[in-house]
């Protein structure tokens, strides 16, 4: 074992070698394990965007960006290892892409002074910047998602869903349980009846849940699913001939991976979307020219334009913009993690900015402030069409009901602050 340890030390030293003046963006991705089909496109998009910036603009503010991939396999322990291995290399921001790892890193990264951006996942109450100084979850969180889904249902029913039945099929884990409190709140407000249907990991066998849905015929089914659970749920919904347009998934249940295995019967399935789907954006021309055609795409290069690939692009874009902002604020181009945090807190995404980046209409504008780390809380609803094999947005970006969500976030954040003796900031 001793020789191994020495070799390990050597290897670690190698890994920690180049401390060059790059802007380092660690990418805790997972290209293996049960969630690899979802991890691959996000990681590819994240890496490709930075490659584009390097190739086209020579980096961010003249400094090259370096993506530091580290395989987590969606495993918390490997996530910790990745964090410890990369944090010393002047990492600017962590995007852990896993609820478990995010919870893990929130206290650690806060203590180390490195910001975390959990885009559309992680701890919802991190939207409260007064408690969570180093954690950001813009542009929308799970509670926003629950509210947006209900709002969409309200729109479909002319604003009255009293007495309607809504079922929530969820992954029986921290992630899946997130929307329950919000939905209970909303069910009290709008008078709909909420049925909870947990599905245990991994979720290959969902007969019981879908038989219950078939018996009780809820008017709408919401889904907080992940991995194989999504495909099976959509398949089972098709099997019981549940009207697909009444079946709405969260943004992690709405990629091509989830609907394609089901085939034609998945047509009509809806999911929330943080960004527009497809590749009809000017940025893809640049990507084609500077990245794809040069053979620089990350991974196998077969994920371009997929929903999750776009999400990876978006995450990278937000990180890059925050870095630019930080450079602007502090007047240096070689920023530190703390300066990056300031940039993230001052981030302002406008329609004009999006258009200038080659992403017009890709995602809604929002701004971050000291109090609000959660962004706009907007998402759109997209619908799957199996014959054309594409998603399309069927609504505008809907704003969540902050009147319902904000008190919940404050309550949860205050509880966290009390537990950990954090004093509120921003005053």
């Amino acid at each position: 074992m001793k020789t191994q340890l020495t070799a390990l030390a050597v290897a670690a030293a190698f890994a920690a070698g180049p401390a060059a003046a790059d802007l380092v963006f660690p990418s805790l991705d997972y290209r293996t394990g049960p969630y690899a089909p979802n991890g691959i496109p996000v990681a590819d998009g994240y890496a490709d965007y930075f490659t584009l910036l390097n190739e086209r603009d020579g980096g961010i503010g003249g400094i090259r960006a370096r993506v530091l991939p580290c395989e987590t396999g969606y495993n918390t322990e490997k996530g910790v290892e990745c964090y410890e291995a990369t944090k010393g290399q002047n990492a600017l921001v962590y995007q852990p892409l896993s609820t478990g790892i995010t919870y893990q890193l929130i206290p650690k990264a806060s203590a180390d002074g490195i910001p975390i951006h959990s885009m559309g996942y992680g701890r919802t109450s991190a939207a409260d910047g007064t408690t969570f100084e180093w954690v950001f979850n813009y542009p929308a969180n799970y509670w926003d998602g629950a509210s947006i889904a209900v709002k969409h249902i309200l729109d479909l029913n002319g604003g009255n869903i009293g007495g309607k039945k809504i079922a929530l099929v969820y992954h029986n884990s921290a992630y899946g349980k997130e929307p329950i409190r919000t939905l209970e709140e909303l069910s009290g407000k709008y008078g709909f009846e909420l049925t909870l249907l947990p599905v245990d990991h991994p979720g290959q066998e969902q007969k019981s849940q879908w038989l219950q849905i078939r018996r009780e015929r809820p008017d709408y089914v919401l889904m907080w699913g992940w991995g194989v659970m999504n495909q099976v749920a959509i398949q089972e919904a098709a099997n019981i001939r549940y009207p697909m347009e009444n079946f709405i998934g969260i943004w992690w249940s709405g990629s091509e991976n989830d609907v394609e295995p089901v085939g034609g019967k998945a047509t009509g399935y809806k999911a929330l979307a943080l960004t527009a789907p497809g590749r009809d954006f000017p940025i893809y021309e640049d990507l084609e020219r500077y990245v794809y055609s040069k053979g620089l795409s990350a991974g196998a290069g077969d994920q371009h334009g997929k929903v999750l690939y776009n999400r990876g692009l978006y995450a990278a874009m937000l990180a890059a913009e925050a870095a630019k902002k930080a450079q602007e604020i502090h007047g240096v181009s070689d920023i530190t993690a703390a300066q990056m945090r300031d940039g993230m807190e001052a981030l302002e995404i406008t329609d004009r900015l999006m258009a200038s980046l080659g992403l017009p209409g890709f995602a809604p504008p929002f701004s971050v402030s000291c109090e609000n780390h959660g962004g706009s809380g907007r998402a759109a609803v997209q619908q799957w069409n199996a014959s054309s094999g594409s998603w399309s947005l069927v609504t505008d970006y809907i704003k969540s009901e902050s009147g319902v969500i904000q008190p919940l976030i404050e309550a949860d954040a205050s509880a966290f602050a009390r537990e950990n003796n954090i004093s509120k900031r921003c005053n």
Binding site: I40, E205, N257, E260
Partner: protein, 328 residues
């Protein structure tokens, strides 16, 4: 009340069907355990590997594409042809036989006469290896499996029961197919083991290794045979489960579903695997239906084991397991 009863019957029927799917996975375990006393932890990964190979062949994927591209800098992904399902299944079978041969040649041969726990450990190593190998060969992304199996509600049953009881039962066509395939599979296996020379040799090996050796049965060839059959069963299970969810890593986790079935049915009994699967399937679905709402749902995973536990307390060797005779 009558409606509740109908629901319960529907749930039980679906549990029965789900049980068949569990049995399909459990069968592979039983075959290998019976013939060689090995608890094959890699069975789930074998199902994944078989299904991945099948899809890869059908879609004309280039094996090890990523590795080749990374090393040689090429851009190879697809051969550009599509194999018909039957042909692909045959090729996959051939690969599974080759795999069985390799396992026997490289691992099992060297571990003859070792304790069961060590053989178990060897299959763990095999599972690790195959998990990496499968992903490396075919990629970790999700693949659509389409071998023409019907899916969705069976309209005829729905209508007939609706006319009879006023409530249409839901039975998945895929489950019906699975039941038929399982029945055929078990019949063929039984016929094979009863009426062919290899089958008899197989049973002899299962009864006593040394006695079988002494009458001139080659353990090696029997083990290759058994692992090939287990590979075939894994392929069937992989196809059945993969049709539902697409072929992806999670397919290897179906092995967990087979564990309570094995415990209940006994590791050495093919009928045990079937009956055990059915009991577990019906039991867990009915429990979820009756007690799930009160307990907050998602009870199936643990209830299957509790059910098996209750059975075992009364019959410690499993339902059809051989009676344990203990002597000092």
């Amino acid at each position: 009340m009558f409606e509740q009863f109908l629901f319960a019957v529907e749930v039980a029927l679906n549990g029965f069907m789900a049980g068949v799917m569990y049995s399909l996975v459990a069968l592979g375990f039983v075959l290998i355990f019976k013939a060689s006393g090995i608890f094959n932890y890699a069975q789930g990964v074998m199902a994944l590997f078989a299904a991945l190979t099948l899809v890869g062949l059908m879609d004309g994927q280039v094996p090890f594409a990523h590795l080749i591209n990374a090393v040689l800098g090429t851009e190879a992904h697809h051969f550009g042809w599509h194999l018909p399902a039957v042909l692909a299944i045959l090729f996959t079978m051939a690969i599974m036989v080759a795999f069985a041969w390799a396992v026997n040649e490289l691992i099992l041969k060297h571990l003859v006469n070792q304790e069961p726990i060590i053989l178990f450990m060897a299959t763990i190593g095999l599972a690790y290896f195959l998990e990496g190998f499968g992903d490396l060969m075919w990629g970790a992304d999700i693949k659509k499996l389409d071998v023409g199996l019907p899916q969705g509600i069976n309209g005829w049953i729905d209508e007939t029961t609706f006319n009879a009881f006023g409530y249409g039962f839901f039975i998945d066509n895929l489950d019906i197919v699975a039941t038929v395939i399982a029945a055929v599979l078990v019949t063929v296996l039984v016929l094979f083991s009863q009426y062919t020379k290899q089958g008899r040799a197989l049973r002899a090996v299962a009864d006593d290794h040394q006695a079988a050796l002494s009458v001139g049965i080659s353990l090696n060839s029997i083990w290759v045979l058994v692992w090939s059959i287990a590979g075939f069963v894994a392929l069937v299970a992989g196809v059945m489960w993969g049709a539902k969810s697409g072929v992806q890593f999670s397919l290897s986790l179906i092995a967990l579903k087979a564990l309570p079935v094995l415990m209940l049915g006994g590791f050495t009994s093919i009928p045990g695997a079937i009956v055990g699967g059915l009991i577990i399937g019906v039991g867990e679905k009915l429990f979820e239906f009756l007690a799930g709402p009160a307990l907050g749902g998602a009870t199936e995973n643990w209830f299957a084991f509790v059910l098996a536990l209750v059975f075992l307390v009364f019959r410690p060797q499993g339902l059809f397991g051989e009676k344990i005779i203990e002597r000092v």
